[in-house]
Subunit: 252 residues, 2 copies
DNA sequence: AAGTGGTCTAGACCACTAA
DNA sequence: TAGTGGTCTAGACCACTTT
């Protein structure tokens, strides 16, 4: 027998209403007092049910307004190799990087804040760059926005000797034709990408202004030069409600 | 000023204890009555704080036992093209498919339940196979397990004419050297992979026995034959607490 | 001003796990 | 049997949004 608590029954009934489109995306759910009346339940029980739906990503609450049915409009993001050659297959890029060109091609407006810093390497970075933990590395932190709203975090980590004295160290939204790495004499010939879904940390949630219960994809790209040395690690935090990550793989 | 409700303050204090290792993975959190005493809070408030931690994937409750600090042991999953040629780079495969060989290489024991059915195409499948919605397609549903515990769902969809009369239609854990598709005369030369993080549906959560607040990666692979026709769509549900998806990308 | 959700308290009864 | 979390109730005060 399935566990059918009153909470579960209320959640299930509302889930059905949403799934069958009787309460369309963007619309308001019945108010809590209305649901208490309808299901003869205490307020805590009704709220419990709403929180289940919120955790399933179906609804979100706006204080003073009510519970709203969530809607999703993810953009595609194709982390192909072209991005790291400073160009892109189909679209010309006039002073933007590959990500920005990609967003423009989908009819949206990109922007990004860039900060550069010297920091001790975290374990996850140190392992991939083959340096000791706590070794000083250069990080370029980017907060990327689409139409003015936060979209993804992309932090690039470089060994100090790779970045020193190059355009990598310049803050702001630098664009270097041919690519930052190529201009620094460290063209990458191979990448290893690792992707994992997890809940966001508090900080990620705040910086990306995520609604509650929005999972993120952590995308880690390690780039290697001709000599097989790892010269860059990019950690991208891509919220699931605004990203579809795409790979085009050829068997040739 | 940050919103510092009592609930948030309790959650933050406990989060710190976990982060700094004072309560190690697998260990029990203080009991609810103990926390009520420590923070002079009602039980509801303490439970609210614990649910925040649970949604962040930090703790999980076991009835009658207490709240435990969660731990993660993800396996890597590399959806390379070799898998679809019925072979794999480094490992020999003696009667197993690429996924099973991959798991064995990581020192674990794979198994899978396979079911074959004829079903009307869902929108997501119909769009990618270039058929009308509701057209009948063949689906091979696989529940893959590692060491006996559910690991991922992998459902493969084929146009009826592609699958008819081939080994694809055989239920059970069929292994065909050279690959099911190749043997059916539909070798794939290109793949398009789409990845998106989202909360699991009720059904996915149940089939995979997921702890609460475990996000999943939905991995959709569309395979094309030499003529450019889509001949297979695989939808894989990969729980974030047990998967790292890996791509090896060459710039050559 | 009226209606919405956010937070907090106090108490009750239940099912499950352990000793 | 004692201790744990799971569920449910009833009531209170607050901040925020809309009319």
């Amino acid at each position: 027998m399935a566990t059918t608590s009153k909470t579960e029954r209320i959640a299930e009934a509302l889930r059905t209403e949403i799934a069958e489109g009787r309460i369309p995306p963007g619309a308001r759910m019945p108010s809590e007092p209305a649901l208490m009346e309808q299901y003869s339940a205490a307020r805590g029980t009704v709220r419990e049910a709403m929180k289940i739906l919120a955790n399933d990503g179906l609804v979100i609450s706006e204080t003073g307004l009510g519970w709203l049915v969530r809607q999703y409009n993810p953009l595609t993001w194709e982390p192909g190799v072209f991005e790291h050659q400073g160009r892109r297959r189909d679209t010309p890029n006039n002073g933007q990087d590959a990500w920005a060109a990609d967003v423009i091609a989908q009819g949206r407006t990109p922007s990004q804040d860039v900060q550069v810093a010297l920091v001790p390497a975290l374990t996850v970075v140190a392992e991939r760059l083959h340096v000791d933990p706590e070794t000083t590395v250069v990080v370029r932190r980017r907060l990327r926005k689409v139409d003015g709203t936060p979209w993804q975090l992309a932090d690039s980590y470089y060994p100090e000797d790779v970045a020193a004295g190059t355009a990598i160290m310049e803050p702001g939204d630098t664009f270097v034709p041919g690519g930052l790495m190529r201009s620094a004499g460290h063209a990458q010939v191979r990448f290893r990408d690792e992707i994992r879904a997890r809940p966001p940390t508090r900080e990620e949630s705040a910086r990306l202004q995520l609604p509650p219960a929005t999972p993120i994809d952590q995308h880690i790209r390690t780039g290697y030069n001709e000599a097989g040395r790892p010269v860059r690690v990019i950690i991208t935090i891509a919220p699931g409600d605004r990203h579809v990550i795409v790979y085009d793989v050829s068997a040739k």
